[in-house]
């Protein structure tokens, strides 16, 4: 919403200046977005008078001017403009002035050997236009030495405010002035227009025809002015429209536009000569179209409200008029429409047709119903003033709906919600000045809401009205009382898991990424997703179309993007939501990571101290197990189910991580070559993904105390064993078997060597383990040690088919 200061002042008495106005606007909730104050910006540029203009001794195209700038002796200024001549009033900039167009600070200079004490400016240099063939020529009467801007009509700053959707009344200058009046920086002026009596019945009638459907208009008023002469509107009106970027067209149209901005009252004018028969306000019909004033043709339907005559649709109600009945200089009889429309229908129509007009903007937010007829009256007066003619009586259809809302308002409500103690006067005065009708004594007021404030419905709205005028800055900050107890975690279990997972993965050298929650359909499908219910109806692009079933596709794509930028060894992770279905309980918190190239857990890239190896499934396994360990699940507790990972993993180099057959925590491994191919990425690439919600709830424990520490005084002893075992036997099984031999005595089993090749039969591997025995009560005798060693071998052999390597 834009208006100039002088325009505002027509509605607001008093001498509030630009600063007072803009500060107050923002303070009461009409946020000033921009002020275009040319006079203020250009106040350093003054009127100069060229007394003499002579050829520059050293340059053909330059002149040396003697300029009277209103103080001291005339100044010598070198000027290159062809129109510089004696007697001309010009814009003078003294040294030290910043030239708006270039941002350059002017210095005293010497041009081709002649000193120059300033500059004569072109309109382009001043940021006022494109003219740069010569310097600006000011009106002859401009007073020398004074700022020039007011003498070329630049003394009217234009203010742009942001009007929130709840304040349709402030989409007109008058409404803005009312808020400023309530803030006590000026009197609200309400220029009353005497009610104009019609001189004859309106020759065109209007009726509603909504049939059995919901009416889309409660009220429609129409008046003819006969015998107008439609030309340019007066200069003041044209200037106002131009100041806010609205193009003047002709007097009849300008009047309707002006009242939209001035009083938030959109109107429409029809050239009566082009209207056939009476007007009907009805729903549009499928197949109907309208060639509108903006040069476009719109297809209509039954959700839209139209104004039609015998020939068809003339106008899309409240949105845009038709070109065929528009007013031009040939118009002699004009029909003025002032109507009320269903705001929802206007919004729907405007959105469907993608038309943004000032009328739509106001109607969909809600115009003042009680100003429909006065607005028509003001418009009629303007038209009579500008174009002459004779007014008809007003033809109407429907009725102006009444909204007699009276709110019981205890003054204490202000204090209750804001904490600020206010006097009854501080409540009553601003409300009255805003146009509310306030009655009642003591604490209990009755407040009647004016017709232009559809946003005010109850007590809280009135508190806002009071506090925004009284001043939010008067509300003092008061400490929130301390909570009665600090006990209890502030984070839920999954939130804590997510936090732990993040820090753990980062500590392993992975870098956290935050990727979009949506991926492409192909990516979703490659990772078990792509369900129709999770595909956005209106994706922002085909790459971001489906809610992600997994964090991996985006991480893999990101790894590839980094590789394409020559960072081929990246380790990325994300902790975030994934979606199995559109139900809330199917939104999961996942943690996933990928490692690419040589980005292994112990470091990326080549190093002098060790061989450079590509990432492998064990790097991903380490990441996954580290997260689980951080979340309280020891590596030994987690089952590594080889071959059970989802299909996007390499079948032979991956595993699911589970707690029992049903409780799957996630998976890790190399990515399936076909998956990588489908995503258009290259490896080596490994990854893991865990579902943090899947972990079992920790058992409630009565105490945080840990089990007592048992440090045996007896030396533990180590025995090494090497087994020959089938290649298909998981090493973990062998370790488990050794451990299970004697759970008291065997405290640790470490696999320290794995060999296959010459010396070991085909299809077999040699696995060497170190077993730690911890005697509990007494040192073991050689015989006892021998016995347990034999037991271990027997146990392992039975469980895995292994034989002790000879």
């Amino acid at each position: 919403m834009k208006f100039s200061l002088s325009w505002l002042k027509e509605h607001l008495g008093g001498d509030a200046d630009l600063v007072a106005v803009t500060e107050t606007l923002t303070r009461v909730g009409l946020e000033v977005e921009h002020v275009d104050d040319k006079a203020g910006e250009l106040s350093a540029f003054v009127v100069g008078h060229i007394l003499e203009a002579n050829r520059h001794p050293n340059a053909d195209k330059l002149q040396v001017c003697m300029v009277d700038v209103g103080r001291g002796a005339p100044l010598q200024v070198v000027c290159g403009a062809p129109n510089a001549r004696a007697g001309l009033k010009v814009v003078f900039a003294a040294p030290g002035t910043v030239i708006p167009a270039s941002g350059v600070k002017l210095g005293a200079s010497e041009i081709r050997g002649v000193p120059s004490a300033g500059m004569l400016c072109s309109s382009r240099e001043l940021g006022l236009g494109d003219e740069h063939d010569g310097i600006m020529e000011l009106p002859e009467g401009s007073p020398v030495g004074r700022p020039f801007a007011p003498f070329v009509g630049l003394d009217d700053p234009v203010i742009e405010i942001a009007v929130t959707p709840n304040r349709p009344d402030c989409l007109g200058v008058h409404g803005v002035a009312r808020d400023l009046h309530a803030a006590e920086i000026g009197e609200l002026r309400d220029p009353l227009t005497a009610v104009i009596r019609g001189e004859f019945p309106c020759p065109v009638n209007v009726r509603f025809d909504f049939g059995d459907t919901e009416p889309l208009s409660p009220f429609f008023a129409l008046r003819m002015v006969r015998g107008v002469k439609n030309g340019q509107s007066p200069e003041w009106l044209r200037r106002r429209l131009k100041s806010i970027g609205s193009k003047p067209i002709n007097a009849l149209v300008d009047v309707t536009n002006y009242l939209a901005f001035d009083r938030a009252r959109p109107l429409h004018v029809f050239d009566a000569a082009k209207v056939r028969g009476d007007l009907v306000v009805r729903r549009g019909r499928a197949g109907e179209t309208l060639a509108a004033l903006d040069g476009k043709t719109y297809a209509l339907d039954e959700t839209m409200c139209v104004i039609a005559d015998d020939s068809g649709v003339l106008s899309i109600a409240g949105v845009i008029g038709g070109a065929a009945t528009g007013c031009d200089e040939t118009t002699t009889d004009v029909l003025i429409e002032s109507a009320l429309w269903d705001p929802l229908a206007i919004a729907r129509t405007g959105r469907a047709l993608n038309v943004n007009t000032d009328a739509r903007h106001r109607f969909e937010r809600g115009v003042d119903p009680e100003f429909a007829l006065p607005g028509l009256n003001v418009a009629t007066q303007f038209i009579l003033d500008f174009c002459g003619g004779a007014p008809s009586e007003v033809a109407t259809a429907g009725e102006v709906p009444a909204r007699d809302l009276i709110i019981d308002f205890p003054i204490s409500e202000v204090t209750r919600l804001t904490g600020l103690a206010v006097t009854p006067a501080e409540v009553k005065t601003p409300l009255s000045m805003l146009g509310f009708w306030v009655t009642g004594v003591g604490d209990r007021l009755k407040v009647s809401v004016p017709s232009w404030r559809p946003d005010v419905e109850g007590k809280a709205d009135l508190v806002e009205e009071v506090i925004r005028i009284v001043g939010l800055d008067r509300v003092e900050a008061k400490p929130l009382p301390a909570m009665t107890s600090a006990a209890g975690a502030r984070l839920g279990i999954v939130q804590r898991r997510a936090r732990n997972a993040r820090r753990t993965l980062a500590a392993r050298g992975l870098v956290e990424a935050v990727t979009w929650s949506f991926v492409s359909k192909a990516q979703a499908e490659a990772f078990g997703g792509g369900a129709a219910e999770l595909a956005l109806a209106n994706p922002i692009s085909a790459e971001l179309s489906d809610m992600r079933p997994s964090l991996l596709p985006a991480l893999i794509a990101a790894a590839q993007r980094n590789a394409d930028r020559a960072s081929s060894d990246v380790a990325l992770f994300e902790v975030g939501q994934t979606f199995l279905s559109d139900r809330p309980e199917d939104q999961r918190m996942a943690a996933a990571g990928v490692r690419r190239g040589t980005a292994k857990a112990r470091g990326a890239g080549r190093h002098w101290g060790e061989a450079t190896l590509p990432v492998d499934a064990f790097d991903a396994k380490g990441d996954a197990l580290a997260v689980l360990a951080a979340l309280g699940l020891a590596a030994g507790a987690v089952q590594i189910a080889q071959g059970s990972a989802p299909s996007w993993f390499h079948p032979g180099r991956s595993a699911a991580l589970q707690l029992g057959p049903k409780l799957i925590l996630g998976a890790f491994g190399e990515l399936h070559p076909r998956t990588l191919q489908a995503l258009g990425v290259s490896g080596p690439l490994v990854g893991f993904e865990l579902t943090l919600d899947a972990l079992p709830q920790p058992r409630a424990k009565p105490t945080r105390a840990k089990p007592p520490f048992e440090g045996s005084a007896l030396q533990p002893l180590n025995r090494d064993f090497a087994f020959i075992v089938g290649r298909e036997v998981p090493a973990a099984e062998l370790i488990r078997a050794a451990l299970a031999t004697d759970r008291k005595l065997v405290t640790e089993v470490t696999l320290f060597d794995r060999y296959e090749g010459p010396g070991v039969p085909e299809g077999k591997v040699s696995l060497a383990i170190a077993v730690t025995l911890q005697p509990r009560e007494k040192t073991l005798t050689d015989a006892e040690i021998e016995a347990i060693a034999e037991k271990i071998v027997a146990h392992v052999t039975k469980a895995t088919g292994a034989t002790l390597r000879g």
Partner: protein, 363 residues
Amino acid sequence: MTDIDHLNALEADVLAAVEAAVDEAALEAVRVAALGKKGSVSEKMKTLGGMDPEQRKIVGPALNALRDRVTEALTAKKTALADAALDARLKAETLDVSLPLRESGLETGRIHPVSQVTDELIAIFSAMGFSVAEGPDIETDDLNFTKLNFPVGHPAREMHDTFFLPQKENGERLLLRTHTSPVQIRTMQDKAPPIRVICPGRTYRFDMDQTHTPMFHQVEGLVIDRDANLGQLKWVLEEFLKTFFEVPSVELRFRPSFFPFTEPSMEVDVRCRKLANEIRIGEGDDWLEILGCGMVHPNVLRNCGLDPDAWQGFAWGMGIDRIAMLKYGMPDLRDLFAADARWLSHYGFRPLDVPSLAGGLSS
């Protein structure tokens, strides 16, 4: 030659031999030759028995003293030889310790700024007694709009360009939440007041340009109590901003504004100084819009089964990405979601930099 002369000659010979020994083996040979069972000194000792008492009285002590001196010389020489040997070994044992190590994960791993700032928020608000509530990203129209007092078809809904999921057979159309406010509704529906929660999370709007991304992060706060008022809201926000931006004081400007779910509604500006590459909060002459807030609208309370005359409260919301960018000087929102490892390494946080109030939030 007297016995003493003999001893002196013997001592000179042995000491010369000690001095001449080049390594520990040679020295051992000297020791054996002198002090061994058949060593020259030992042999002399054996002769003491055959001497008359007078002679023994003279030679005995002299011989003992000689043996002590030889032993001492041997020990000293042994130490010198060992030192020399060690020096020689050490000389050969240099290591170029300037060789670079691999950086550990603690050095190369990073926490994303959004996660870090979320942890900062949690540290601050948990100290004020707030819990952290979360809700689903896929929401119903009812929880995202209707319960929050957005009238059906009201232009305010246009302010939220919403992502929708496909319409179901029953006509229901789920959407991606446009703000975290549905979590406030869920909290009020599930939990009896008094309530103090913050709701951080992902939110979605149909928008993609230099300053908008289709997904972003918001945090909202909600306090419901018997007397929660605007003054307390001001205090909470001042304390939060001061703590978050780690400045001794902040100055806030509350401007009346409009949100369907609060009444009165306000936007909050914070005093700042805008510099070329950063914004300094708490000083300067500029204002920066930083968040929206207000008293919870009575309709919203009613929609959640709370009597607006018995319970009241305030709420606020702001962009996590935005305050992260402001605090840590990240210029472009889109970079936050680009997963560029170089950017993440630069703007990310070390794994053990866990925000805490005791530690001054950021380290």
